[in-house]
Symmetry: C2
């Protein structure tokens, strides 16, 4: 229909946003293209006008999420205490809203099983976050902190959030979040 270029871009964006939410909420394998397209108010047939394959969508949704996360972290580390950032990450709200939450906590174990191209996209778009975190930790601790050390801190946050999400008893789940905050602060010192 030769729409304005903005129309095409906006549609593509809507698909990406629906996918980003649904993947984080239900996992990649559990979400079909029909559900994503319905969420974007379209039918399945249109999908392939915008993406080469489901895997291409996964890759692009992932790198957008990681880029957004990086920007948010830069903002947060600029002003706030690490404890505030950590408490926001390991909060009951974040635990209960996976669809708008951290892509690593939701998807890391699934990404590990995806093709190398997807894992490479993940690694390269996660690196800036790790580097920013490492630099921040270095200046705080006074000694050199590597990207890998920052990854361990992120691993603690994501892994603890996963355990809290898997724990059905609310009090126990809250306690896990609290313990994760204490552990993260200890690691950051």
């Amino acid at each position: 229909m030769r729409y304005a270029p903005e129309h095409n871009d906006a549609t593509r964006e809507r698909i990406l946003e629906a996918a980003s939410r649904l993947f984080r909420e239900h996992g990649i394998a559990a979400v079909g293209l029909a559900k994503i397209m319905a969420e974007a108010d379209l039918t399945v047939g249109t999908f392939y006008t915008h993406f080469k394959s489901k895997e291409a969508l996964v890759r692009e949704a992932l790198l957008r999420l990681l880029d957004a996360r990086h920007e948010a972290l830069e903002q947060a580390l600029h002003g706030a205490d690490l404890e505030v950032v950590v408490r926001a990450y390991l909060s009951p709200e974040h635990r209960d809203m996976a669809g708008t939450g951290c892509p690593i906590a939701s998807l890391a174990s699934e990404i590990a099983r995806h093709p190398r191209a997807t894992r490479s996209a993940f690694a390269s778009h996660n690196a800036p976050t790790l580097d920013a975190l490492a630099a921040w930790l270095s200046s705080r601790r006074g000694n050199e902190v590597s990207r890998a050390d920052a990854a361990a801190l992120l691993g603690l946050l994501a892994g603890t959030l996963q355990l809290a999400r898997a724990t059905p008893d609310r009090a126990e789940s809250d306690a896990i979040l609290e313990a994760g905050v204490r552990a993260a602060i200890r690691l950051a010192k």
Copy 2:
């Protein structure tokens, strides 16, 4: 065919073992019953003689894995240093063999999206491991360590292993494992 009772149990066991490996290797949603049954040298039709549903299989495979993990940890904590246990967990071998590895690192984020009955089975069969770990940490540190604190340590281990698995560059992945070991030891002190 009225086989001996052992025959029935052995078949059930074979299904559980195939499922335990395939779920950890590819994720629960990504593995169909046909693949599991083929791995156990059976056809799909037989599945429902042994289990009520795929979800029932997931639940039982999960609790068996957690029970086995608990026994292995008890053994390990009895003799060895924590550092040895942590190094084995965050080893390149464990990273590269998800099918025989830690069910939490492979499945925690997926379990979090399963029905409450599955999450309850997870929590109750993971608790002994956490309690053993907490008791061990308490005696080592000299102060009281809660089950939730042990969960944070487990979260660090599982989360870091996931990040190492998602990182395609081998050297970078190895570095993440090393950083995880350092962080875990710091937390345990």
